[in-house]
Subunit: 340 residues, 2 copies
Amino acid sequence: MITIKDVAKRADVAPSTVSRVISNHPAISEKTRDKVRRVMDEMGYMPNVSARRLVTKQSNTIGLLLKTASKEMTQNPFFTDVLMSISKVCKDNHYSTVVSTSMNEQELLSEVSELVNSNAVDGFILLYSKSNDPVVSYLQSINFPFVILGKKLSPLSNEIYIDNDNVMAAYQLTDYMINLGHKNIVFIAENSTYAVNEDRVLGYSRACQQAGLMPEVFEGAAGTEEVSGIIAEIKTMLPRPTAIITSDSMMNLNVLSELYQQQLRIPDDIQTATFNDSYFNESACPPQTVVNIYPESLGAEAGSSLIEYLNHPEMIKRSIIIPTSIIERSSTKPLKERVL
Amino acid sequence: MITIKDVAKRADVAPSTVSRVISNHPAISEKTRDKVRRVMDEMGYMPNVSARRLVTKQSNTIGLLLKTASKEMTQNPFFTDVLMSISKVCKDNHYSTVVSTSMNEQELLSEVSELVNSNAVDGFILLYSKSNDPVVSYLQSINFPFVILGKKLSPLSNEIYIDNDNVMAAYQLTDYMINLGHKNIVFIAENSTYAVNEDRVLGYSRACQQAGLMPEVFEGAAGTEEVSGIIAEIKTMLPRPTAIITSDSMMNLNVLSELYQQQLRIPDDIQTATFNDSYFNESACPPQTVVNIYPESLGAEAGSSLIEYLNHPEMIKRSIIIPTSIIERSSTKPLKERVL
């Protein structure tokens, strides 16, 4: 069996340097780190996980990072489903979890750095993906293990991403609505810089264009007066839209509430569909057609990928795409021709 | 002070057998376990929590136990809010968490015993309270730290309970409806053996009786055909009920969906109110009047009480009652006299 000493000898460094490379110590230069890793790979060296843990005081804890710990985020069933499935995988592998509680990006960065510096976690799962994320830059700069549950934003990125194909999911949902006979479908999106919304808007727009229809995208913040204004505007559009697709379940709830208050009945006056299935879509008035994005699978893959990486830091960081499917409910139905 | 050796001598077993009984080792026969436990009780032996921890390597992890890890439970915003606030307190005190994933009581007991025996957790928070709970009996028998987020079921119990006064909360909500002019209010309760439902039914019944009204309680399982049947039955009652109080938010969602499908409009045809505020009650069709039970405070108190107890095992196990308040929304309003 190959030991740390063997690696140290071949790489011409002290054994303590090899240990530090294995434990991702920040004081090791990139040059040394690369050299030692290369030798480890060449010799087929595998760190002994149990022994390493004894030495490095691993926490056996995984940090879960939310884009914000706001109620709108944490009460979202997507979050809950993902959290529960990550927790299950962690528990089965003797890991526990801590969840970020920051309300904005700046706070989150200090929270992450505190968790790292107090050795509170062995790795992170980011439950969001956004461009130029300072958290990602920080974790990369100290070579700290993490997995992103969200979109791979750069083809050059060498990180582990777990995601659905949200362009495809939105394309399929829009196409399904077009096949029901809709010619005027609007899309209401949460206004944000997060990749998932952009991809869903893109998939919707492509499906519309391909069918020779004009895409119409409204942006607003869920839980605000903006949604009320959007619905009022939709009511006055000519020809009047016959269907609304929303970028996620929480926005959809808002839209349903506004449609109810502005006395548009579903599915007779207007039809609705959204993304991510949950108890709330199933019990909505009426039950909602949704794209099932399988949050449990996303969570389980994120958890097991990170744990696998923690145990085998030399592994290839492969990304995983979970397929989606449409669940048809009574918020959509074949459209009868209407005289407007 | 009585030691393991004293117990072993009196019970006529080896000291290691006593240790094994304390740690619930599976290789101990029921007969031996009962005998040793009886002797421990007779002699007033209490395992020294701090000493045990020094030996057993603390995990700095808290286990959160759900009555079941079903979607209906985990997608309940009450659970999410409590979980997030416990997580925050834990993180601030350098504890992480593991969440139970069992789907029933029998599984939960083995899950708990496995967490205890693998030293995976230092203590538990039970997010439910029920009579004759085998999990509570087990934890008491091994003197393992826990806190119950729920009702104190026996006045003699010497455990830490964090709860609202649910009898009072339901009494106040019913009284509020009576003051709006309602004379026929029905209560739809989740059929279960959990204390919270029983207390809410009790508070409702008391308020009705005190006002000279006849309480009418329906029981059903949320998410089933039963709820549909209950609404159909309510429609045929004479005089027809003018208000429905539901035992919790998830049941309320079901009731709203059924009312919508059976074409009873809120608040004009019938009014509704429930317990526990969330995004889903705020965005319901129409927004729902609820009793705010302050899940964040319940979670924060449960977390900090357990951590305080872990650090000070000698402390007095005081229970905490969090007050409640009514949030009025458009699902309720003063009732106009109707000719039925």
